[in-house]
């Protein structure tokens, strides 16, 4: 039972002031101004950045300018406001409490508080409850722990469980959508209930006088487990045929898929019956399959042909003098009366690859015709002009040999 009629002594007043100071520091990171909690997560980010900077600075501490530098990503007025609040609440303090102090240090409690808050935001408190129970378990097993401490711990836990149970009961009576959304964050796994009961057992064994407090704790654990089951039961009843799969986190499914043995996986389908493969092969379909059987491939498959209309090789291949004449005229016009011409000039003359490539093709063709007097001679030179066409250009010379020009 919580005691209510404290005598207010100097000692207790001092003690309360110390607790308040701890609270203030712990929640300083969340405070918007000295009287309320933040409404913008960026404000928490500033505090976190500052704490990280303090941790790095070590015993050098930080000056105001250094703090500002660490938070340079945030607007200056936001930073100043934040610093004022953090200082007001004692999360950041002067290294030495005297006027015109330039160096500052951070409070350890605030940093721990911030870590705690971040974790709470991540998983809604379930794993925090695990940690808390594990810690309390260690505490009550510690020979130095007094009965009063154990009583306080049991009372705190009982209160937490009762609050969770109440919230779950409210949800269970509400809409199914809300329940589906909220319940998995709140309900306790068997593990939590088991830990809580073992803690309860430890306290009761060590301090039999605490049986009243323990009875309350036990009742709270039971009502919490019951509320969890009730919420889950309502969801199970309302769930259609696959909808409840959403209630386990994707990570749980993945872990199961990755770590379960073949036997455990297979056991899921025990008692389910499926059809054996029994496709039907109709006689007519068998006859059709035989008739449509792919014909034996010819020994040498023809190369693939273009789908475009193609007059065929017989017409376009012109080995006669007409073809040679055309090539000769191309070569002559390229030479322009000279006996030799530089290829790199000929090919860049138009500044366009489409025309240069045709010219190049014709010149190479005539070079290959042994009966013609034109020859290409390639040299080692190479021009690279990224902006121009063609961008890469081998050097060479087109020349007229022999004497029948």
């Amino acid at each position: 039972m919580p005691e209510t009629n404290h005598e207010i002594t100097l000692d207790s007043a001092l003690g309360e002031e110390a607790v308040l100071a701890t609270y203030r520091r712990m929640f300083a990171a969340l405070a918007r101004d000295s009287g309320a909690v933040v409404d913008d997560p960026v404000l928490v980010d500033i505090a976190e950045t500052l704490f990280a900077a303090f941790a790095e600075a070590g015993e050098e501490w930080l000056t105001h300018e250094q703090m500002r530098h660490a938070c340079r990503a945030h607007p200056v007025e936001l930073f100043e406001n934040r610093l004022r609040v953090l200082r007001g609440l004692g999360a950041i303090r002067e290294v030495f409490p005297k006027p015109n102090q330039l160096r500052y240090r951070a409070s350890f409690t605030s940093v721990v508080g911030l870590m705690f808050i971040r974790r709470m935001m991540d998983d809604g408190g379930q794993s925090e409850m695990h940690r808390l129970l594990a810690l309390e378990d260690l505490n009550v097993a510690d020979p130095r722990t007094t009965m009063e401490e154990a009583r306080a711990s049991a009372q705190n836990l009982a209160r937490a469980f009762r609050l969770w149970a109440l919230e779950l009961i409210t949800l269970t009576g509400g809409t199914i959508e809300e329940l589906r959304e909220q319940a998995p964050k709140l309900w306790g796994t068997e593990e939590i209930a088991r830990r809580a009961q073992s803690l309860h057992g430890t306290i009761l064994n060590r301090w039999p006088d605490l049986d009243r407090t323990c009875t309350e704790l036990r009742a709270a654990i039971y009502s919490y487990s019951d509320a969890s089951r009730r919420a889950a039961g309502r969801l199970a009843d309302s769930a259609g045929t696959t909808r409840n799969l959403t209630l386990l986190p994707a990570e749980t499914w993945r872990t199961f898929a990755q770590t379960a043995s073949k036997e455990r996986l297979a056991a899921v389908l025990d008692g389910f019956v499926f059809d054996a493969p029994a496709p039907w092969h109709d006689p007519a379909a068998i006859v059709r399959a035989v008739d449509e059987s792919p014909r034996p491939a010819p020994a040498q498959p023809t190369p693939p042909r273009s789908a475009l209309p193609d007059p065929g090789p017989a017409d376009s291949h012109d080995a006669g003098p007409a073809g040679l004449d055309r090539l000769a005229s191309v070569a002559e016009s390229a030479l322009g009366g000279r006996s030799s011409a530089r290829l790199e000039e000929l090919l860049t003359a138009d500044g366009e690859w489409v025309s240069a490539r045709r010219l190049l093709a014709d010149l190479v063709s005539i070079d290959l015709r042994s009966e013609s007097p034109y020859r290409l001679r390639w040299s080692d030179g190479l021009t690279a002009a990224p902006g121009a066409e063609p961008a890469w250009l081998s050097h060479g010379v087109l020349e007229r040999t022999g004497n029948d020009a």
């Binding site: 889950a232 036997e263 899921v268 006859v287």
Partner: protein, 391 residues
């Protein structure tokens, strides 16, 4: 064994073995080996076969590599159907090499790839009881006895014109005898299947009911009632439901579409998937393509089918299953329509639950969800609620 259970079991595990002198369950074809033992296969009413679906333009259960599979079946018929005056079953055993040689003669090529494909087809035909491949010999399987008499002429004609296997695979000098004791094998179809139910209807009504029966039992996907008057009208639908009930089956409705599934009572006794690796792989596919997308809020419909494939790579690398077993299990599951392979581009694609998941009844679907939750999160309050409800 009651007839409904026998039918359910034959559907789940293939043709039922019969001991010597054991009577055939009602409504099943008796295949006798000649020594008294035999096999039992479900018979269809009014001599219908799944070919009927073609008339209604409804897709039957898909056949993997159908052309190749059927050509290999034709090659096996060429080798095993010895007495063309009789029906094809049981025929005589033929060495696997002789069947492969007949297949080679049929398609006119003989490379290694063709051989591998043909062996894959032999395995699929064996798994679906169209052939029995064992000890290097191929026999015609019991399903070959399901071809109606009147279609034998067509097959006989086909076998006559197929090229004989080449000389290089002359085969065994002495083939094993057809039956264990040389006794004569026989096929006895049951008379008047469901006559008592169908009798009162005129020809047209009767044909409609049989068509609806074949459609819900053998179409790949649920069929629309607009195509099948017997599904639309309550009176013939009732008869249909009774026909199914005799086979341990029930009608399953999804709005205007219908299919059939195992009745929940029969399912418990008909026997599950025998292969453990197959069951494990199927569970993995369900987790990855249904449970995880659901948990992430991507899958809105309350169904066990899913558009989210699980990559074979994921199954290969992030599970405890040996790779060899995984590949074999995926192949078998695909063949049975329990998973469907989705191809998308070069690398993407994978496996989703197959069309058989249409055939789960409501309670079976719910139970599947609960079993998965019990297995993956046994210590969650949800699992506790499931256990409490079952007690």
């Amino acid at each position: 064994m009651t007839p409904d259970l026998a039918h359910a079991r034959a559907r789940a595990t293939g043709p039922l073995p019969l001991g010597a002198g054991e009577p055939v369950p009602h409504g099943m074809i008796r295949l006798e080996h000649g020594d008294g033992t035999g096999l039992a296969l479900p018979a269809w009413p009014d001599g219908a076969t799944p070919s009927l679906l073609e008339e209604y333009q409804v897709a039957p259960v898909a056949v993997e590599r159908s052309g190749e599979t059927r050509r290999v079946l034709a090659a096996a018929l060429k080798c095993c159907w010895s007495d063309l005056a009789a029906g094809p079953w049981p025929g005589v055993p033929a060495p696997v090499d002789e069947v492969l040689a007949a297949y080679r003669a049929l398609i006119g090529r003989g490379d290694d790839l063709m051989r591998n494909w043909a062996i894959g087809a032999l395995r699929r035909l064996h798994d679906s009881a169209w052939l029995v491949v064992a000890d290097g010999l191929v026999r015609l399987g019991p399903r070959c006895a399901c071809w109606p008499e009147e279609s034998h002429a067509q097959l006989r004609e086909l076998v006559r014109r197929l090229p004989a296997p080449g000389q290089e695979a002359a085969g065994l000098d002495v083939l094993p005898a057809a039956g264990p004791d040389g006794g004569s094998a026989s096929v006895t179809p049951p008379g008047g299947v469901d006559e008592d139910l169908l009798g009162p209807f005129d020809e047209r009504r009767r044909a409609e009911i049989v068509a609806a029966f074949m459609a819900v039992e053998h179409a790949a996907e649920p069929v629309h009632e607009a195509r099948f008057p017997a599904l639309r009208d309550p009176a013939p639908r009732r008869v249909l439901a009774e026909m199914l009930e005799r086979r341990g089956r029930v009608l399953i409705q999804d709005r205007e579409r219908w299919t059939s599934g195992y009745a929940d009572g029969a399912a418990a006794e008909a026997g599950a998937l025998p292969d453990e690796a197959q069951r494990a792989v199927l569970v993995l596919v369900l987790i990855h393509s249904v449970a995880i997308p659901r948990a992430e809020g991507l899958l809105p419909a309350d169904s066990w089918l899913s558009p989210f494939p699980v990559q074979a790579e994921e199954l290969r690398r992030h599970t405890m299953l040996p790779i060899g077993e995984l590949e074999a299990a995926l192949r078998a599951l695909r063949h049975a329509g329990l998973v469907t392979q989705v191809k998308a581009g070069e690398e993407a694609g994978g496996y989703v639950p197959g069309p058989q998941f249409h055939r789960l009844t409501g309670p079976a679907r719910r139970r599947l969800q609960e079993e998965l939750i019990l297995a993956a999160g046994p210590h969650t309050p949800l699992a506790a609620a499931v256990r409490a409800r079952r007690r």
